[in-house]
């Protein structure tokens, strides 16, 4: 059993093709792993019967030589993706009981390619959070634990908002996990759980059927065990979709080929920028030194690393915390107790709306709706929202300027390793700071990837981030392949199924 669970998706695909395992055996192993690790609260809904049906269908297609790109690969789906006939709640009480009559484009792409759905996975409510603590289903526990130091013996956060997805990946209760990333919600949990997480270029993966948080920032992407799996899964997830008006109609570069090229030939001549402004106060020495080590790894593979400046970096987080709540307050206006979701009756229509929303949303979501409503309200719109959109352009210009000279940027993924559950939830600002390195790529709409690069002194995963210009996911895969080889990160979480 443990041999099965230790295979990457690429290895499992090969084993399925070679008939050394069957899709049913693979799916059964993951269903058992999810049973064995249920304490981490990663799954909010298990669809084991459906998974077994899908696995049997995969075995038939494998036998006929009609296997798809992800044939027979078990996938746990973040509860932000609508799944036809399967309850979808965005981990919010207001959507309890909502059964979508349609499938999101991203998950449809996965099923079309033969993937097997294990169930729906916990996340921060409406993906608003950085510790998976705002979920109506309760917090998720990181399968990683500190081997020493002040965090030893404490339950740690897997990060957020795709915290359940990252925890399930690290616990080996799923083999692939699609996430969504509005300000770092794929990359930060991937970093906290020793995984690869990519936020592609805005528009690469369709937003159709993904519960909307902040539409100009939301982007789906893969959370995987390694870089080759990321290339594979991204190839399946991405598509042009006329059902999303901001979908990009441009071919995805051949990411598997980019991976192979980097592995075989290195990245000679690739220019990597090291942004001065990503050195932040209070960043632990070991993150700074890991960043420096990452630079050397890329240089050893032939890259040329140069210092660059992104002068408006410090304004990214405050701009994000105007734009994202503003868009959220508008998007979440749809939860009114009329067409779907929970309703609390009231004396009038307005009273019904207010009671429904007051009862259905959790504290963090309410806080963001209030901030968004405030910054969009009469008299404040120009001072906050328009100002933030202007700053957003300056941040995008910063990236455009440096990408005239470099192919990609190397930064840490997060300013710390995973922290204890409950430690930062009382202070919204310190929670926001988790996203200091990840938010700028969302604001600029450009792709970025987090790669596990080492362990902290107390034994917790740390990630390095690469950021590339629009549409250059191939550059990310190449750089990530080099970082992965050099880091040789082969640690497994203590809470992983075996």
């Amino acid at each position: 059993m443990s041999d099965i669970l230790s295979m990457t998706a690429v290895a499992a695909r090969q084993a399925l093709d070679n008939k050394t395992i069957s899709a049913v055996e693979l799916t059964e192993a993951y269903i058992k792993a999810a049973d064995d690790t249920a304490d981490n609260n990663a799954y909010v809904l298990r669809t084991s019967d459906k998974a077994m049906e899908m696995a049997k269908a995969s075995d038939k297609r494998l036998a006929k030589g009609e296997a798809g790109l992800l044939e027979g690969i078990p996938v746990g789906v973040k509860d932000m993706f609508c799944t036809k006939g399967v309850e979808t709640t965005a981990s919010s009480a207001i959507l309890k009981g909502f059964v979508p009559p349609y499938e999101s484009t991203v998950t449809e792409n996965l099923w079309q390619d033969g993937a097997v759905m294990l169930g729906k996975i916990n996340c921060d409510e409406f993906a608003m959070g950085s510790a998976n603590e705002t979920s109506a289903f309760g917090a998720v526990t990181n399968p990683w634990t500190a081997s020493e130091g002040p965090l030893q013996g404490k339950a740690l956060t897997p990060g957020g908002s795709s915290g359940g997805s990252a925890a399930a990946m690290a616990a080996r209760s799923t083999l692939l996990a699609p996430g969504t990333d509005t300000g770092g919600s794929i990359r930060q949990p991937a970093a906290f759980c020793g995984l690869v997480g990519m936020k592609p270029t805005y528009g690469r993966c369709s937003r159709r059927g993904i519960v909307a948080f902040a539409s100009s920032l939301d982007q789906a992407g893969p959370i995987t065990r390694d870089v080759a799996d990321c290339a594979l899964m991204m190839t399946s997830m991405s598509s042009y979709d006329s059902g999303d008006s901001t979908s990009i109609d441009a071919p995805l570069p051949d990411l598997m080929d980019a991976f192979a090229t980097a592995k075989n030939k290195g990245i000679k001549g690739m220019r990597i920028g090291i942004p001065d402004e990503y050195t932040v106060d209070g960043m632990p020495d070991q993150i700074a030194s890991l960043w420096d080590t990452g630079r050397k790894w890329l240089e050893d593979a032939g890259a040329v690393c140069v210092p660059v400046s992104l002068p408006h970096t410090q304004y990214a987080l405050p701009a994000y915390y105007i734009i994202a709540p503003a868009e959220a307050s508008s998007n979440l206006a749809r939860y009114d107790g009329v067409r779907y979701g929970q309703r609390v009756d009231g004396a009038s229509l307005d009273d019904m709306y207010a009671k429904t929303r007051g009862a259905g949303f959790g504290d963090e979501v309410k806080r963001r709706i209030l901030i968004g409503t405030y910054v969009l309200s009469a008299g404040y719109y120009d001072a906050y929202y328009i100002k933030a959109q202007k700053v957003r352009r300056l941040i995008q210009n910063d990236f455009t300027n440096v990408f005239a000279d470099v192919d990609a940027l190397l930064t840490p993924s997060t300013p710390s390793a995973a922290f204890a559950l409950g430690d930062e939830s009382k202070d919204p600002l310190s929670m926001f700071l988790n996203d200091v390195f990840t938010v700028p790529a969302n604001l600029a709409g450009i792709p970025a990837i987090s790669v596990p690069a080492g362990l902290s002194s107390d034994g917790l995963p740390l990630g390095l981030q690469l950021i590339a210009p629009s549409l250059r996911e191939d550059t990310l895969i190449k750089g990530a392949a080099i970082l992965e080889s050099a880091a040789g990160f082969d640690h497994v979480a203590s809470g992983a199924a075996s």
Binding site: V99, D249, Q314, Q342, R357, R393
Partner: protein, 103 residues
């Protein structure tokens, strides 16, 4: 920022009530005081954007730079009232039911 300014920008309970009303979202009275502090902290933190010079900068609403795609104005789906209403908290005769809105 001077004390005067921070007082000027602090969000008080009447502001909380006003924006909660705009958002059609009940706030428990015992949460109002805490929300004043939380929102004031966040709002004064985002006000650091004021020090960033944005003269002659166009606001950025879309990162793609593409114009919105157009399609023919034709019916491509629909006539599925049962599907549309399948998640309605209350429905009758293929309509969503809401509290009475006309006095």
């Amino acid at each position: 920022m001077t004390d005067n300014n921070s007082e000027q920008h602090a969000i008080d309970t009447s502001t909380i009530q006003k924006i909660a009303r705009l958002a059609r979202m009940d706030i428990q009275p015992e949460r109002e005081q805490a929300l004043c502090g939380e929102l004031s902290t966040i709002i004064s933190w985002v006000e650091q954007l004021g020090e960033c010079d944005t003269a002659d900068v166009e606001p950025l609403a879309s990162v793609t730079g593409h114009s919105l795609p157009m399609r023919d104005d034709v019916v491509t789906a629909g006539n599925e009232p049962d599907v549309v209403l399948s998640n309605a908290p209350e429905e009758a005769s293929h309509f969503f039911v809401v509290p009475k809105v006309i006095e």
